[in-house]
Amino acid sequence: MPIKALTGNEAMAEAMRQINPDVVAAYPITPATEVVQLFAQFVADGKVDTEFVAVESEHSALSACIGAAAAGGRVMTSTASQGLALMHEMLYIASGLRLPMVICEVNRSMSAPINIHCDHSDTMGSRESGWIQIFSEDSQEAYDSVIQAIRISEQAFLPCMVSLDGFIISHCMQGINELTDTEVQEFIGEHKTPYSLLMDGHPFTIGALDLQDYFFEHKRAQIEAMENVLPIIKSVGKEFSKRTKRGYGFFEEYMLGDADICLIALGSCAGTAKVAIQELRDKGIKAGLLKLRVMRPFPYKEIVSALFNIKAIAVLDRSTSMSTMGGPVFIELRSALYDNPVHPLMVNYIYGLGGRDIFPRDIVEVGQKLENIKRTGKIEKMIDYIGVRE
């Protein structure tokens, strides 16, 4: 397997090249990253057979993707931040019509104030849109997940977005263990749909008006489809790891086995947290990390069982829900633990908004505070902020 030095953007674009989708429709609105630009170069150089549709907005980009997917095509696009927000209306159309497709999404903050740097507000803002959401710690994971996402999405008949952290990963170079083009093609297989707008002599209606007497049933079926995604992610991940020795589940457990306090993080911060966990262990604190990979569907049963022996939890959220109840991961995890016979103490740290850096020392401090919470059983602040000036 060749190893290439690639940025996160390049890694995602390279996965797209190897997937060789039928259609890519995209628009580079600010603050888009290079993914589309790099892929457009592959198209111009004749390295893919893709029909590249340059559109006038992200709304149109996803609209074109929806049409192409309904026509039976293997479809991909890429966006970030306001671009994903501009797609918001069409996100629901794609998932509601049960059309498989993959977005390579770069996590970047939502304006205002204007900011183009990393946080998870864009992706988290779409978490109720019916898309499968997979976060990546680094470029390798993003590359691997984009390839797996094709299979997951097409098997589940649900669209999927794979995200990586803006700048921190998207513009950072890393050695990527690549699969060969043939291996990728073998892994993703042929795209098969039970129906296609281009089927001769078999007309059907897609996107018809669906009123009080049917809409609810269609949504119920969509929820069921989401329930069925977890086993698909598991089996696709297993098959991928057979080929690559890189295993992927719903989350990664890092030094969690004997831990009594646990940090929860997703995205690039998980890498920083691993360093901090080592340092906490050196100080005699039994800390562990649960790195969440799959945000949608939320694998709550599996997370709860992985946290069974944990006495205190700190959730690191790189976005806020603006509900005043903390970040999205914190809120969902707290809810997931409600039925547990024992309730661990839980705190939430919002960090890194608008690309504010987070350092191992910040997370070590979180671990020390958490250890203290475990010992005293007292929580002074349920929701706190890392690195914000008072």
């Binding site: 008949f157 018809a208 609810f216 049933e217």
Partner: protein, 93 residues
Amino acid sequence: MTKPGWRDLAIGAILEKGGTALEFKTGDWRTYKPIWSQEKCTSCLFCFIYCPDFCIEIEDGKMIGINYDYCKGCGICKEICPKQAIEMILERR
């Protein structure tokens, strides 16, 4: 007729036939009804071009009437008609 449960529906709310919008008659949304005067009409077909619901019926290049099954009474045909051949009247049901 019992309606199917959620497990029995086609994926993605697909309907296994085309042209289903024909079965959804939007004429009853109308408040004002366009009345066409055959005498004044020159069949310039401006109304045909502008009608958002394809409700202007034509035959051999001539206007022959209005399809009230789908006409929502927007009045664009009246506004666009150069011969004042369409009048909008309040429709009482």
